[in-house]
């Protein structure tokens, strides 16, 4: 019962606005601290890989960016589904706030992957299943944002874009398992696998800390964007005056 009361609070824009204002600085501060420690661990303390030498350090930026691009899409699709099913306006605002951040991290994943691919595979880009599916993810983000921008009625824009987000979530497991389902140049899962990770602990802890840093960073940026989204959506609501004065 208490859990549902807590859940229902997230349907209230003023409560969510206050929650976002309180928590974003904490998430942001913790993210920065974790990022700095993880960078020191990954670039200075971790030993070179026996095969990839120092090029393996690319993992400390590429893997968290790629993981975040998927996590943000999943968050966006879940929020869109909640908005569609329960007609919760805040959920649509969360989905809208996720999209630009997710698109940027997909660009980061593709760009850093290209810079890792050149010394390892001899080419910046190959039409590999993992890379191609990640590129499709970028187009899904663009499609979501384009659809929202192209429909004037906010309610219709919410509904149409939410449907695209929910349908597009099928691409997330395709990206994750593409390296197992098809022949791929991309390496298989190193950390995110059941059982023991393949990495040595000295290399693993900075990576895990960087994953945590990126997750905290996303929470901070999402909450800031959500406040902006709520201010634009609730333009006629009386609570806006209270929070701005």
């Amino acid at each position: 019962m208490a859990t549902w009361t807590w859940f229902h609070r997230f349907g209230s824009p003023p409560w969510v606005y206050g929650f976002a204002r309180r928590w974003a600085p904490w998430f942001g501060g913790a993210a920065l601290l974790c990022m700095l420690i993880a960078l020191y661990g990954g670039l200075v303390l971790a030993p070179p890989d026996y095969q990839q030498k120092d090029a393996f350090r690319m993992v400390y930026v590429h893997a968290p960016a790629a993981w975040l691009s998927l996590m943000i899409y999943t968050t966006m699709a879940v929020a869109a589904a909640v908005g569609l099913i329960w007609r919760m306006k805040v959920a649509h605002a969360v989905a809208a706030a996720c999209a630009p951040v997710g698109a940027w991290f997909t660009v980061a994943a593709l760009g850093t992957g290209m810079l890792w691919g050149k010394p390892m595979w001899g080419a910046y880009w190959v039409w590999d299943p993992r890379l191609t599916a990640e590129l499709v993810l970028l187009f899904l983000y663009f499609g979501y944002m384009g659809l929202r921008a192209g429909i004037e009625d906010p309610a219709k824009a919410d509904k149409a874009s939410a449907m695209l987000a929910v349908v597009g979530v099928i691409n997330v497991p395709i990206i994750k398992y593409s390296v197992e389902w098809w022949n791929s140049l991309h390496q298989t899962a190193t950390v995110m696998k059941l059982g023991k990770p393949k990495m040595d602990f000295d290399m693993l802890w900075p990576l895990l800390l960087m994953f945590l840093a990126f997750a905290l960073y996303f929470a901070a940026v999402l909450l800031i964007r959500l406040r902006a989204e709520l201010l634009r959506r609730e333009r006629t609501a009386s609570w806006i005056r209270e929070v701005l004065t």
Binding site: A55, M58, W104, A108, T112, W116, P119, Y217, A228, L231
Partner: protein, 51 residues
């Protein structure tokens, strides 16, 4: 120091990758803060017009 920067000859790929990744981290933060500042400005202007 130069040994650290060369990263065993992979520095020319590694540093641009870090610059791109963390540049996007910084850019996203700045864009979010700027979006909130704009939304606040718009909302305040609307409130002033109403009153």
């Amino acid at each position: 120091m130069s040994e650290f920067l060369s990263m065993g000859g992979y520095g020319r790929y590694l540093w641009p990758a870090f610059l791109l990744g963390f540049g996007i981290v910084a850019l996203n933060f700045w864009m979010a803060v700027s979006s909130l500042a704009n939304a606040k400005r718009e909302a305040k202007r609307r409130l002033e017009m109403q009153s």
